[in-house]
């Protein structure tokens, strides 16, 4: 595996190019999406999943903590947003705040339990907690509406310094999600290249050594878990607006596994931008492959298996290699691939 840690800490300048590209793609999406035969709602979905995937990768790729129950925090965010609209007040900011806080709170509690664990036990405990939340959401009928979920969640208007925007159209909601996505990118970029992010990478490389270097490892693991749960909560809040409902399915093991697949296929293990590529690839597979054959999930699954076997560094890793070959003709450094 080439690892994130082989890529040195980078200044914001290096993010300008990709961020500008992403911003341009997002800003123009409502024009080119219909032009290539797709639909506006897809843009909303992709932006939301990118927020989720980027936040998840802080934990998965940077800290090397393999959470397999992350769908739960997406779901908690979605439920919190819906419950806030229905029981407290019709407010966008209030709802999103509630979504982020609720997911962060759940993450904080779970984090206390899992942060002293490592390796496979970490993965298994996160699955168990994910299942607890999923199961609760189905059984706490009075709060969550059982298996049907919360229906008819409104899209409250966006109020910003006295201005008010209507979010009921998918294009408007898309722009809101896109702005949140860009904010997510900027915050996470700053975070992973901060001392905090470097410690996370050190934990990923060798937890024991990081501990002997004097870091209270479990606090960093806990913090990474909480932060990534909060981003999942934000994505969940937006998701419940997009779907206008919140239901247990988003918290299932299936969804939690899906986010792992997306991040890995995209190359989250080696690149900050991996999750973005992975989400795009997944939705392209779903909508393009899904248009051709009903069994697209079979082909996606096979592609995923091949990727894990042959190219675990994902699309981002392949692009990185290809770029290196193109540039100097220099022989690409033997990636530390076989080391890990």
């Amino acid at each position: 595996m080439i690892s994130l840690a082989d890529i040195p800490s980078r200044s914001p300048v290096q993010a300008y190019g990709p961020v500008a590209l992403l911003a341009l793609a997002l800003a123009t999406a409502p024009w080119w999406l219909p032009a290539i035969g797709l639909y506006q709602y897809l843009g909303v979905e992709v932006a939301i999943w990118m927020i989720f995937a980027l936040g998840f990768n802080l934990l998965f790729g940077y800290a090397g903590l393999h959470s397999f129950g992350h769908g739960a925090y997406l779901g908690i965010g979605a439920y919190a947003f819906g419950l806030f609209q229905q029981n407290v007040a019709l407010s966008l900011w209030g709802g999103l705040g509630a979504a982020i806080l609720a997911a962060g709170f759940a993450g904080a509690i779970v984090g206390v339990f899992v942060s002293h664990r490592r390796g496979i036990y970490y993965a298994l405990l996160t699955i168990a907690f994910g299942q607890v939340f999923w199961f609760s959401s189905m059984k706490l009928y009075g709060i969550t509406g059982g298996e049907d979920g919360l229906l008819g969640i409104p899209r409250p208007p966006l109020t910003f310094f006295g201005l008010e925007f209507d979010l009921r159209s998918n294009v408007a909601l898309f722009y809101l999600s896109a702005i949140f996505l860009l904010l997510t990118v900027l915050i996470l970029w700053r975070l992973v290249n901060s001392p905090f992010g470097r410690v996370l990478q050190a934990i990923r490389q060798n937890e024991t050594r990081a501990r002997f270097a004097g870091y209270e490892v479990w606090r960093f693991k806990w913090a990474a878990f909480v932060i990534s749960a909060m981003f999942a909560g934000l994505a969940g809040g937006l998701f419940s607006m997009a779907q206008q409902s919140a239901y247990p399915d988003v918290m299932s093991l299936h969804q939690s596994g899906l986010i792992v697949m997306m991040v890995l296929v995209g190359g989250g293990l080696v690149s900050f931008w991996g999750p973005v590529l992975g989400v795009i690839l997944y939705f392209v597979a779903r909508d393009v492959l899904g248009g051709l054959t009903e069994t697209w999930l079979l082909w996606y699954g096979l592609m995923f298996m091949a990727m894990v076997m042959l190219r675990p560094e994902g699309v981002a890793g392949m692009l990185h290699l290809g770029w290196k070959r193109l540039r100097g003709g220099e022989k690409p450094a033997v990636l530390a691939a076989e080391k890990a």
């Binding site: 393999h66 664990r117 036990y121 298994l124 199961f135 079979l298 995923f304 298996m305």
Partner: protein, 306 residues
């Protein structure tokens, strides 16, 4: 106190069934240090193969199919019990071949690969057998109600529990009393040494994976008349299986059996008083056990922790 007896009995039978499911899982984890998330899918695959064998699936219209269907259901059931696990074992071996590139890497990759495989197998099942709920026929001798101490039970549950008990003891005897079992256990303990002694490690892994998959398929055939057969039964099953091996301690045979009985009892008793929350009790049990004993009840240090 007498009210709780039937629930205890129920819980114990459930526990034995869980133990049967966890058996193959713990074997594979112990020897190969791979968490096989496709275990549930192999379980489903075994049951679907049995369904085809029993009902003469695609060959029903041929002369052979007609002759086959004219045989007594008992004969066909026994044939299904043999052929289903065998085919599941072949699928498991194919999966083991796919797993080879991940050996020596972080355990995450095995987990990811088998997760992908679970997805793929589920889709294949949807393609091959349809998406609806199906029913696996069982012979009349082991079907129907039975009266025990004034309570009505299903005969099949007793058959299934007894079958599981026999299978558990048989696997234990195989591991403890035969030279093959000794090699497998040695492989779990120190695979380098086993290789140094001249055993073919890759063949050993292939066979162990096949054996684990066969046990999964067998568990599928036994369980499915109780739980119902649908394409995503695999995911429903793999979760209790791994909860059990984590509670019991990864790689520990008796740990898995004890944990399965505990989980069965927890589910049975919770089911009696708060039916809707029965499944939840397993997760709570896991969190409590692993919260206090990070390696489970009987676990040792394992490479999977790195």
């Amino acid at each position: 106190m007498t009210d709780i007896l039937p629930h205890l009995l129920n819980g114990l039978t459930l526990g034995l069934l869980f133990a049967l499911i966890a058996l193959g899982f713990t074997l594979i984890v112990g020897v190969m240090e791979v968490i096989n998330l496709a275990h549930g899918s192999l379980f489903a695959l075994g049951a679907y193969f049995a369904l085809t064998v029993l009902g003469a699936g695609w060959f029903g219209d041929t002369a052979f199919g007609a002759w086959w269907l004219s045989l007594a259901i008992e004969t066909r059931y026994v044939a299904a019990l043999l052929i289903g696990p065998l085919l599941a074992a072949l699928a498991g071996m194919a999966l083991e071949l796919c797993l080879r590139p991940t050996y020596g890497k972080a355990p995450l990759y095995g987990l990811l690969l088998t997760f992908g495989a679970a997805l793929v197998i589920e889709e294949i099942i949807r393609l091959g057998w349809g998406t609806g709920e199906q029913n696996l026929q069982v012979p009349a001798a082991i079907n129907g109600p039975i009266l025990v101490a004034g309570f009505i039970y299903s005969k099949y549950k007793f058959f299934a529990a007894g079958f599981s008990l026999v299978a558990i003891v048989a696997v234990w005897l195989f591991l403890e009393r035969t030279p093959y079992g000794a090699i497998i256990k040695a492989g779990a303990h120190d695979s380098e040494m086993v290789r140094a002694l001249g055993y073919d490690l890759s063949k050993l892994r292939l066979l162990v994976f096949g054996f684990g998959a066969a046990l999964a398929g067998l568990a599928g055939i036994i369980m499915v008349p109780i739980w119902g057969l649908r394409p995503h039964v695999g995911i429903d099953v793999v979760i209790p299986a791994f909860l059990i091996i984590v509670i019991g301690g990864i790689g520990s045979f008796w740990g898995a059996v004890v944990a399965a009985l505990l989980v069965g009892l927890a589910v049975g008793i919770t089911g009696a008083y708060a039916g809707a929350w029965a499944t939840m009790s397993m997760y709570i049990l896991l969190i409590v056990v692993v919260g206090f004993r990070s390696r489970g009840l009987f676990g040792r240090k394992s490479a999977l922790e790195n």
